[in-house]
Amino acid sequence: MFASAGDALLSHGMKQTGNISLHHLQSVIFAIGNPWVAAGILLLLAFFAAYTSALSWADLTYVLPATSLGYVVLALVARFALHEQVSPMRWAGIALITGGVGFVAGGPALTEHPEKPPPFGSAQGKLPREARGGAPSSSSQQATPVSSEAKS
């Protein structure tokens, strides 16, 4: 949601500032002063915080398709709240995205690497190797304060 709304605000703001010439790169900096661009950047920062948090416990190829649900929500808001016309092609796009997210959501969130387990266990509640009786790895040593909680 934040990403799609942020992109929309950025687009509106950049259309107000006009074309940016490669010979005047500093005008990109001035574009950030536009309130629409600034609001778009704030929403994109909120998206980034949620995105990095999800990446700490799930695979990139699991998280990234899920973020595309924002496109679907925006299209549904446009149709039912703003009463815009949504073409059959866009409905097909919504169906494809929903299907894609459903596909990936049905599988495991995190790839297990037997030789190098994730520091705090996966989203399915699996524990680090040392918690299962194996030798600690370098990545789990980095996470010592929390892995002790995971053991309990």
Binding site: S11, T61, Y62, L64, S68, I97, V104, P118, F120
Partner: protein, 126 residues
């Protein structure tokens, strides 16, 4: 000429996004589950560990390149072209990069998901 500029910017956005996504994903796996870490050590510890990670900083740098390329692209082309085209290329590129560099198990289910989402995003622009 404007279309050439737009597509060049789209390619730069997709490439920089893939590099940034891979680096940030790797960094966040090194940091660990931030929910657990925050409950155990507090929010500032989480922030310090994330910001102090070199891969995270490099990833944010790549994301900044993607962001400014997006600003250029949006000033040259429509958001209905730039957004979906860059997003679709990023989905496909990330599936390859995650398999090669992050050693994620990109099975048939995830390939299909990446292709469906990329196609769906492209159709939304229609």
């Amino acid at each position: 000429m404007k279309l050439l500029y737009t597509w060049s910017a789209i390619l730069v956005i997709a490439l920089a996004s893939v590099v940034g996504d891979v680096l940030i994903s790797h960094a966040m796996k090194q940091v660990g589950d931030v929910g657990l870490l925050r409950r155990r050590a507090g929010l500032w510890t989480v922030v310090a560990r994330v910001v102090g990670n070199r891969n995270f900083v490099l990833g944010v740098g790549a994301m900044a390149v993607a962001f400014f390329s997006l600003l250029f692209a949006l000033s040259w082309g429509d958001v209905s072209l730039v957004g979906p085209a860059a997003a679709s290329l990023t989905f496909i590129g990330n599936a390859f990069a995650a398999k090669i560099f992050l050693h994620e198990r990109v099975d048939r289910r995830r390939w299909i998901a990446a292709l469906l989402v990329a196609g769906g995003v492209a159709l939304l622009a229609g």
